[in-house]
Symmetry: C2
Subunit: 346 residues, 2 copies
Amino acid sequence: MAKPKEVTIYDLARKLNVSIATVSRALKDDPVVSKKTKKKIFDLAEEMGYRYNHFARNLREQRTYTIGVIVPRLNSYFMSTVIAGIESVVNNEGYTLLISQSSESAGKEVDSAKTMFNNRVDGLLVSLAYETDDLAHFDQFVKKDVPIIFFDRVADHPDGTSVLIDNRKGAYESTSHLIAQGCKHIVHITAPPKRNVYVDRLAGYKQALADHHIPFDEKYILINNLSQEAGAQAAAAILQMNPLPDAVFAANDNCAVGCMVALKKAGIRIPQDIAFVGFNNDPVSTVVEPNLTTINYPGYKMGEMAAASLINHLNGVNSIDATNTILLRSELIVRASSLKTTSDSE
Amino acid sequence: MAKPKEVTIYDLARKLNVSIATVSRALKDDPVVSKKTKKKIFDLAEEMGYRYNHFARNLREQRTYTIGVIVPRLNSYFMSTVIAGIESVVNNEGYTLLISQSSESAGKEVDSAKTMFNNRVDGLLVSLAYETDDLAHFDQFVKKDVPIIFFDRVADHPDGTSVLIDNRKGAYESTSHLIAQGCKHIVHITAPPKRNVYVDRLAGYKQALADHHIPFDEKYILINNLSQEAGAQAAAAILQMNPLPDAVFAANDNCAVGCMVALKKAGIRIPQDIAFVGFNNDPVSTVVEPNLTTINYPGYKMGEMAAASLINHLNGVNSIDATNTILLRSELIVRASSLKTTSDSE
DNA sequence: TTGTAAGCGTTATCAA
DNA sequence: TTGATAACGCTTACAA
């Protein structure tokens, strides 16, 4: 039942007839201790199976070398790529990641924040849930000077740094592309416009319409949770419209795909009857037929940037307060789902 | 620069003229302290913004209330469901999760294990990477009596508990189903047969062939990393076969889908020319056309079972050593991709 | 019902 | 180059 006893620096010190101070210094490779003693200490540590106790250090240093990550969901291609990017930089810097998914629920996000807070993360990387209205659960971090960096779904917290793409521009390009294909009645499927990404995509959509003298029509805006199933339900709504729209711009690929599948089942031809553009360049966009035109954006890079920026903050390398928004490049990838004019594209 | 000072039990004790022992007891709702003092203490803690210091406790109690999770990848529907299941039980029990992805690399798995070890997780939940041969990186945990539970991709570590499905049976059913559809030349796409899931699926495939007097042919076994791209490459290999096989049983849906898409592009009709069965019931299986027949299995449940079992271990509720393998139910979901006989199915 | 005090394994200051 | 020692904030005998 009793755990095997842990080896501590006291044990090493005793065996070697040196002080724990020397052992401690040697273990962190302090140049002040002689090569010879260092070697002895390293060897003995190895031999006795010593392992460093993070908690003693945390207690002593008042920091944890842990970074919290709160994301809406783990299960998207995009998100797992972002996390891989984050891991690549934080691991290099000796930090550990505490990851939690809010499952798009404001309540779970609050809980996650509390867990992070109690675990005294040194910093926080956050992408907000759809639902979240109130950002009060982040105040506690601000109060303790724990830096927070938002990525993708960001907050307009005054002191927050953000890493994201120009969603407005992406949406503008998508919509303009559809217009260039001759579409005039363009449905936009999106999530409740609480998050910047959806607000901005909607704005880009409207701007493109306006710039091409197409009147904006509220009834073409469909709001749901952007799941594949929600896409199928959106299809039902679209089929009720009269006249039928000639294009759909969905705020993510999953939803676009669910919608396309359902419409096709109802006999709609894509892109001839209704053209489609999604967002994210999820792998599913190359499975659905026709392949989905979408906006590609760099998840891995986004993770790297967010993490690097956070770690700079932690190290006091406050890379000029001016750069508190980092904008990454995104691009429209045109595939068959939106090409009304030519048909030889793959 | 300096962090605002943290409030400790000493501060609370001083203000209230009680001892730190009383404060400590009150804070954990010890029945021995009077309701009145408790209330005073709780109120003051709230008011002064006290937060509990896990590290001091960890240091003192020699445990961390943290559970490590190592998975091959975060980005599958299956895995994120498993994690949601795990979260649901551990959070309830007051544990925190340390999650890490090995990205299917043995090296990263070793690193993750080291991180977990150094963070002194109380227990470990693991699903192995493709590549992992040697399980020595888990020995350190065994040596320290840290319980490990494997799920899905399990190890035959003698003392390990495992939670998984009957992969052999799933594969047997899939293959038998294809045979019932009249298929005789069935390709099996799988990962290197190091992991139980792939070994067992291969065994189930072989068994089904044998039971139906179909000779096993080595050239029908295609080994790759089961990604969507790998599926496309497998398609190229399949197109070289002469005669063409009449069915494919892939060890996951992503790979099946990549393969189907590529074959269709080459003019192969599915299921008429080649029927398909996948594994996992990933959402993509209802996007690809025709919809993919697959094996459904309960990720959320698997996460719950693994976590509950681990926590029982930690609490000493050693639910009989006999039950060191928990088998969950799986089921074949028949969709159009495998139906050669009828064509009216959706 | 409450208090005293030792101990958990580090780091860092000061002195030698 | 090394050592002695005081924190860091908590839990828990044991005593009162």
